[in-house]
């Protein structure tokens, strides 16, 4: 669903000349398949999610969502067991920032994705921050690798062990 450079160029010109409305073309980046046929024949979800990140993990050269339909059910709702990986994949640069600083909206949202209870959140944030180097061993790390490392981190922690299964 991405426009090619050439398409973009002509599109720019056409829009500029005619002053058209709205922004729907190429808008469906990262959407689930509800209302579309994007999902058809998409049976191997796991390899897709784990293999997608080829853009620089921490830079923002491109808007890096390449796996729009991964982890979605036919009706557009994200499958619970893929929620965490999909979240990491789509929020990688912000999540890295929040983990490095130990707080932030994206980290709070991620804690909610894996169901961290209120009383464990501060500990979860602190643990993630001090394990930044393990969670993000390099700028080329993939969402799947971050999820794996996070799972390991949670399993090792007495207080957070119970959340490991949700990653």
């Amino acid at each position: 669903m991405h426009m090619t450079k050439r398409q973009k160029g002509i599109f720019v010109l056409a829009v500029a000349l005619l002053g058209m409305n709205s922004e729907a073309l190429a808008q469906n980046v990262g959407r689930c398949g509800w209302g579309s046929k994007l999902f058809e024949g998409n049976d191997g979800i796991a390899p897709q999610v784990l293999a997608v990140t080829t853009n620089g993990f921490l830079g923002n050269q491109t808007f890096g969502i390449t796996s729009g339909t991964s982890g979605c059910t036919q009706s557009g709702v994200v499958r619970s067991n893929w929620k965490s990986v999909l979240f990491i994949e789509q929020n990688k640069s912000l999540l890295a920032r929040d983990i490095a600083t130990g707080d932030g909206e994206t980290l709070v949202a991620f804690a909610d994705v894996i169901g961290v209870e209120q009383q464990d959140k501060a500990h979860f944030f602190a643990q993630s921050q001090s394990n930044f180097g393990q969670l993000f061993p390099s700028e080329k790390v993939t969402a799947g690798e971050v999820a794996e490392a996070l799972k390991t981190m949670l399993e090792k922690d007495g207080q957070l062990k119970k959340y490991a299964a949700a990653v």
Binding site: M1, V12, G19, A24, G59, G76, L94, G102, E139, K140
Partner: protein
């Protein structure tokens, strides 16, 4: 051509006769099929006959018409905006509300597997009929619709929020902003809510020109889709640096339920997509009306132009029972970065810049800085800058975050959003997007004149910026007609296809370009006393700097192409230098000079001062001087502009 049916008067009569015939035929055939099942068929027929008047009445209600997306065309004819035949149970359901209602009753009361699949698909219609048609609920076969229930439970919507995303001038598809609906769970993190979008599904293999043409003229199909809201925030706020306004909608519980039910009905359902009118805002309005038929179709949404901000205007009008609640403001990454930047000491600012650009190593900064909080602030701001820059800097970005993670947590700035929101008007308070104007003035070559101007959309630099981006002008098809008193003659003075100026100030180390594009036809003094039409195409790019808190000053350079009645076609270099200033809350000034070279050096200085009276009215004084073809003319005009 299918999409134009029902709007072409000449085609109406034969078509209407045909569908009436077809409708009676289809109803009879459905009844015959039912009759095959003996008693039940008979009783269904009686059931329908007894309720004949009520069925006709229900088919004319707002509720039914909104659920089927009917729009009224010429002579009261109906046409659904849905373009998927599987959405209709009657073969003429797309143009006949009554035939579709009858067919729906028959189908939903059918006890065969086909009946179940319809009952589990058209859940909003089922609920509507159960409530409105006596005896329907009692006859309805009851069963579980597992897929639908699973889907509805996964959504568990308790609140619906209308999300408005500011215009993004650097992407032509986003010139007018964007709207989507967000479905919130109770007490949940809104980033994890689902967002409902309406968008075209394009064929990426289409060659460029075909792609644009199809997008504009209905060649692509539009679909509703849902995806986690964080994907929208990530894209719009973090990458495209656009402000987001989130308006909770005051919908009743049954309206929220109907919205979710109706969305299920729209699965796999295609609409014809048109940039001009059947775009995200128009279709979101239809979705909201299906949920809450009490909403009024505003003239703004019935007009041939529909832009996202019109949806906000339409919903905030007094006729809508205050459905829009106070919005939450989600400032873009750029705004948040500017805010944090202002909180750094001067020394920290310098160091952060140096770390971001690579002229200072992270390790050296850490060694030379004393306290941890200061180090953390420097690294966080350096990271902001790295994200704002469009460069390949993943390694440095990683290094900065890695260093930051080794420092203790700093308590976050609370209330940043409130501070950033102060003095900023939400977009529903912006001026309306259509404008007419009356002007009186004097031209030193052509004498006194009176002018009538019209602009279908959307914002000019001198218009009040409240609720919009200051320095972002998009004028679509502005045109004006003048009456010259001395010559007793009317002239088309100006007709532009489009006039865009995008001024993005350099802030917090960002490297954003400013640009302008204009395609216009104007009247000019051509020298030797003659006046003629000139077609112009100006394309420029450059830089803009912040002047005070709201003002900007800019330099743009590029080219102008011209051709006209008594002119050869030529292309000449063109430079624009100017300033846009907010003198007081209601007073705005725009001054610029255009310099260009066409055998001789020409310059056109101009000045405009606008006084905003209120949201509807603005008074503007303009003074300009031009000499493009050797004959200098000064013009002074006073205009009154009305937004509606």
């Amino acid at each position: 051509m299918k999409q134009y049916e029902g709007h072409v008067p000449g085609k109406l009569v034969p078509r209407r006769a045909f569908f009436l015939w077809l409708r009676s035929f289809s109803l009879i055939s459905l009844l015959l099929l039912s009759e095959a099942r003996a008693d039940k068929g008979d009783s269904l027929q009686i059931f329908l006959q007894e309720r004949r008047a009520r069925i006709v009445q229900l088919s004319g209600t707002n509720e039914w018409r909104a659920l089927l997306h009917y729009r009224e065309g010429w002579l009261g004819s109906l046409k659904s905006s849905v373009d998927s035949s599987n959405f209709f149970l009657s073969p003429v359901g797309d143009i006949s509300a009554e035939a579709e209602l009858e067919a729906t009753i028959v189908k939903l009361l059918d006890e065969s597997p086909a009946g179940k699949s319809a009952r589990c698909r058209f859940v909003a219609r089922k609920a509507f009929l159960s409530q409105e048609l006596t005896g329907f609920k009692e006859r309805l076969h009851r069963e579980r619709c597992e897929e639908f229930e699973e889907w509805r439970n996964a959504l568990t919507v308790s609140q619906v929020t209308l999300v408005f995303i500011d215009a993004f001038l650097n992407n032509p598809a986003s010139l007018f902003g964007h709207t989507l609906l967000r479905l919130d769970h109770a007490n949940d993190n809104h980033l994890l809510s689902y967002a409902v979008q309406y968008s075209a599904v394009v064929n990426p293999r289409d060659p460029g020109l075909l792609y644009a043409v199809k997008g504009m003229f209905g060649g692509y199909k539009g679909y509703f889709s849902i995806a986690p809201y964080y994907a929208s925030v990530s894209r719009y706020s973090e990458f495209e640096l656009r402000d987001i306004w989130e308006y909770p909608l005051d919908l009743k519980e049954n309206e929220v339920r109907r919205l979710v039910d109706h969305m299920w009905e729209l699965q796999e359902v295609a609409f014809d997509y048109y940039y001009f009118d059947d775009n995200c805002s128009a279709l979101l309005a239809e979705l909201l009306r299906a949920a809450a038929p009490r909403l009024v179709i505003d003239s703004r949404l019935a007009s041939p132009w529909k832009i996202p901000i019109d949806l906000l205007h339409a919903l905030s009008s007094s006729a809508q029972d205050d459905i829009l609640r106070d919005p939450r403001y989600r400032p873009s990454r750029a705004r948040r970065a500017i805010y944090s930047y202002a909180l750094l000491s001067q020394d920290e600012q310098v160091q952060a810049h140096a770390v971001a650009t690579g002229s200072l190593e992270v390790a050296d900064m850490l060694a030379s800085t004393q306290n941890d909080a200061s180090k953390a602030r420097i690294l966080e701001f350096a990271h902001d800058q790295l994200l704002l820059k469009n460069e390949d800097n993943a390694t440095r970005t990683y290094e900065v975050l890695r260093a930051r993670s080794r420092l203790p947590r700093v308590v976050l700035q609370k209330g940043m959003e409130q501070v950033l929101r102060e003095g900023r008007k939400p977009p529903h308070e912006a001026h309306a997007s259509r404008q007419v104007s009356l002007e009186s003035g004097y031209n030193s070559n052509r004498g006194q004149y009176f002018e009538f101007g019209i602009r279908p959309a959307y914002h000019g630099l001198l218009d009040p910026a409240a609720g919009l981006q200051n320095g972002a002008q998009i004028e679509v098809l502005p045109a004006s007609v003048r009456y010259y008193a001395d010559q007793d003659a009317f002239r088309v003075e100006r007709f532009d296809l489009i006039d865009i100026i995008s001024l993005t100030p350099q802030i917090a180390g960002s490297s954003k370009i400013s640009w302008s594009f204009r395609a216009a036809r104007e009247r000019h003094s051509l020298g030797g006393g003659s006046v003629g039409h000139v077609g112009r195409l100006d394309i420029l790019a450059g830089r803009s700097l912040l002047l005070g808190s709201e003002g900007q000053t800019f330099v743009l350079a590029g080219a102008r192409g011209e051709s006209g009645d008594e002119l050869d076609v030529f292309v000449a270099p063109l430079v624009r230098v100017g300033s846009l200033l907010q003198l007081s809350e209601s007073l705005k000034l725009f001054a610029e000079s255009k310099l260009f070279y066409n055998r001789t050096l020409g310059w056109e200085p101009s000045l405009g001062v606008a006084h905003t009276v209120n949201r509807e009215w603005t008074g503007v004084l303009t003074v300009s001087n031009e000499s493009p073809y050797g004959s200098r003319a000064t013009e002074v005009g006073l205009s009154l502009r009305y937004f509606f």
